[in-house]
C-alpha cells in the first residue's frame, strides 16, 4: 500500500518538475518549484528519511520560495522564449538518459536489505550509536560526531556562500540612478496593510522561533538538528520581514551582527575540535571533553550543532535582507 502511495507521489513529482521547466513565467515556475519541493519532502518521508524531510520542508517550502521571490522582484519575471534549440544539448541529454536507464537494471531494488550500501559501515553506526553516544537519533550522531569533519566542511561552504552573496551585492552599478529603498518603501507596502495577516503572522513568528529552538536542542531525540533549525529560524525572520517590511527586519537583524554571529558559529565548531586536540584527543574527538566519554559526546554534539544552527540562520537571514533591501535599478 505504501508502495502505491510512493508511486503516486513520485509521479506527481515528475509532473511538477516538468511543469516548472515548461512555465515561461518565472513566477509561475517558482510556484511550481515550491510544489515540487513539498512533494519531494513527502517522498523523503515515505522513504523513511524524517530528518531530510524536515530540512527539505524548512528550506524548500519556506526559504527557497522567499529567496526566489526576492530575486524575481529585482530581475523581472518574464522569460524570453527561444524558438531555436540546437540539437547538441538535446543529443547529450538523450544519450545520458539512455545510459542511465540501462544502468538502472543493475541497481538493487528499492528496499533491498542486501544492497551493497547497507553492508558497509551503516550497520556499525546503528549498532554502536547507543553504546558510544547514547542518543536515539542516529542521523544526528553521525552528522555531528562520527562524520563531524564532513559537516564542518559543509558549514564552511554555507558560510562562504553567504560571504559570496554579500560581496556580489556590495557592488553598485555606476552611472545609473537607483530607485531608493525609501521611495520604494513609500509605495510598496506589500502585505503590510492587511491587518488580519499581520495579526495572525505575528502569532506564528514566536511559535516558529520556539519550534526552531526545540528542533535545535531536541534534535538528538527527534528529527532535527542544526541545519533544519537554522532554516526554520531564518524562516521566522523572513516572515517578520514580509509582514513588517524588509527595512525593519534588517534593523532587527543588522548585517554586522549577523556576519559576526556567522563567523562565531563556524569558529565555535572549529574550536570544539581544537579543544579536543588540546585535551589530548583527535580533532573533533569529543570523548575527551568530559571524564565520561558519553557525556563528552553529548556536550560536543550540543556545541557543534549550536554552531551549525547559528551559521545557517545568520547566512540565510543575511541573504534575505540583502535581497529584500536591494534598491531597484
Amino acid at each position: 500500500m505504501i508502495a502505491l502511495i510512493g508511486l503516486i507521489t513520485l509521479t506527481l513529482v515528475a509532473v511538477a518538475a516538468i511543469a516548472t521547466v515548461m512555465a515561461t513565467n518565472l513566477f509561475v515556475a517558482s510556484m511550481w518549484f515550491g510544489i515540487f519541493s513539498l512533494l519531494m519532502a513527502s517522498n523523503f518521508f515515505i522513504l523513511d528519511a524524517a530528518d531530510v524531510a524536515l530540512t527539505e520542508a524548512a528550506v524548500g517550502a519556506g526559504v527557497s520560495t522567499v529567496l526566489f521571490m526576492g530575486a524575481l522582484a529585482l530581475t523581472g519575471e518574464k522569460e524570453a522564449i527561444r524558438s531555436r534549440v540546437s540539437w547538441f544539448p538535446m543529443a547529450v541529454l538523450g544519450v545520458l538518459a539512455l545510459a542511465l536507464f540501462v544502468a538502472t537494471f543493475q541497481q538493487p531494488m528499492l528496499g533491498d536489505p542486501m544492497a551493497p550500501v547497507h553492508q558497509h559501515v551503516a550497520p556499525w553506526y546503528l549498532e554502536q550509536t547507543p553504546k558510544l553516544i547514547n542518543i536515539p537519533n542516529v542521523v544526528t550522531a553521525i552528522l555531528a560526531s562520527f562524520r563531524g569533519y564532513d559537516t564542518l566542511g559543509e558549514v564552511i561552504v554555507i558560510f562562504t556562500a553567504g560571504i559570496g552573496v554579500l560581496s556580489v551585492l556590495s557592488f553598485k552599478p555606476k552611472g545609473r540612478q537607483s530607485v531608493s529603498s525609501e521611495a520604494l518603501a513609500a509605495k510598496v507596502r506589500g502585505v503590510q496593510h492587511h491587518s488580519i495577516l499581520r495579526v495572525v503572522g505575528k502569532l506564528v513568528i514566536p511559535l516558529l522561533m520556539l519550534f526552531a529552538l526545540v528542533v535545535q536542542f531536541h534534535g538528538k531525540y527527534t528529527p532535527g538538528g542544526g541545519f533544519s533549525a537554522g532554516a526554520l529560524f531564518a524562516a521566522a525572520v523572513m516572515l517578520y520581514g514580509i509582514l513588517e517590511g524588509a527595512d525593519r527586519s534588517a534593523k532587527a537583524m543588522p548585517e554586522k551582527v549577523m556576519l559576526r554571529l556567522a563567523v562565531f558559529g563556524a569558529t565555535l565548531y572549529t574550536s570544539v575540535g581544537l579543544v579536543c586536540m588540546l585535551l589530548g584527543g583527535a580533532f573533533l574527538d569529543y570523548n575527551v571533553l568530559w571524564p565520561d566519554p558519553v557525556v563528552g559526546q553529548y556536550f560536543g554534539i550540543l556545541l557543534v550543532e549550536f554552531g551549525v544552527g547559528l551559521t545557517v540562520t545568520t547566512v540565510l537571514v543575511m541573504v534575505f535582507n540583502a535581497f529584500a533591501n536591494r534598491p531597484t535599478y
Binding site: 488580519i196 495577516l197 502569532l203 506564528v204
Partner: protein, 112 residues
C-alpha cells in the same frame, strides 16, 4: 470496550475527513472561477483538516502525539483561512472580476 469505540469513531472521522477533502478537490477542478475555487479549497482546509486530525487524535489515544496534533490543528485553522483571505483579496485588488451569473438567473439553476 472503550478502545473499540474510539477506533470506530476515529475510523468514521478519518473517512468523513477524506470524503470532504475529496469533495473540496473536485470543487477546485469543477468550479467556474477563482473565488468559487477558493471556497471549495477552504472546505478541505478547515472541515477536512479538522475531521482528519481529530480522527488521528482519537487513534493515538492520550499521548504527546495528541498535543502535537492539536497544535497542528490550531495552526492550520489559523493560517489556512487567512491565506485564503489574502489570496482572494490580492486577486480582487489585482483586477480579477468574479464571474457572476446573468442578472436573472436561469430557471434550471445551472451555473454559467
Amino acid at each position: 470496550m472503550m478502545g473499540t469505540i474510539f477506533d470506530w469513531l476515529s475510523g468514521l472521522l478519518l473517512v468523513a475527513g477524506g470524503f470532504f477533502v475529496l469533495v473540496g478537490g473536485v470543487g477546485v477542478i469543477r468550479m467556474p472561477d477563482l473565488y468559487t475555487r477558493i471556497h471549495a479549497a477552504s472546505v478541505t482546509e478547515t472541515l477536512g483538516t479538522m475531521l482528519i486530525l481529530t480522527g488521528l487524535m482519537l487513534h493515538s489515544g492520550w499521548e504527546l502525539a495528541t498535543f502535537k496534533l492539536l497544535a497542528i490543528l490550531v495552526f492550520l485553522l489559523f493560517t489556512g483561512p487567512v491565506s485564503s483571505y489574502a489570496l482572494g483579496n490580492t486577486a480582487l485588488l489585482g483586477g480579477l472580476k468574479p464571474e457572476l451569473g446573468e442578472q436573472d438567473p436561469p430557471k434550471e439553476g445551472r451555473e454559467s
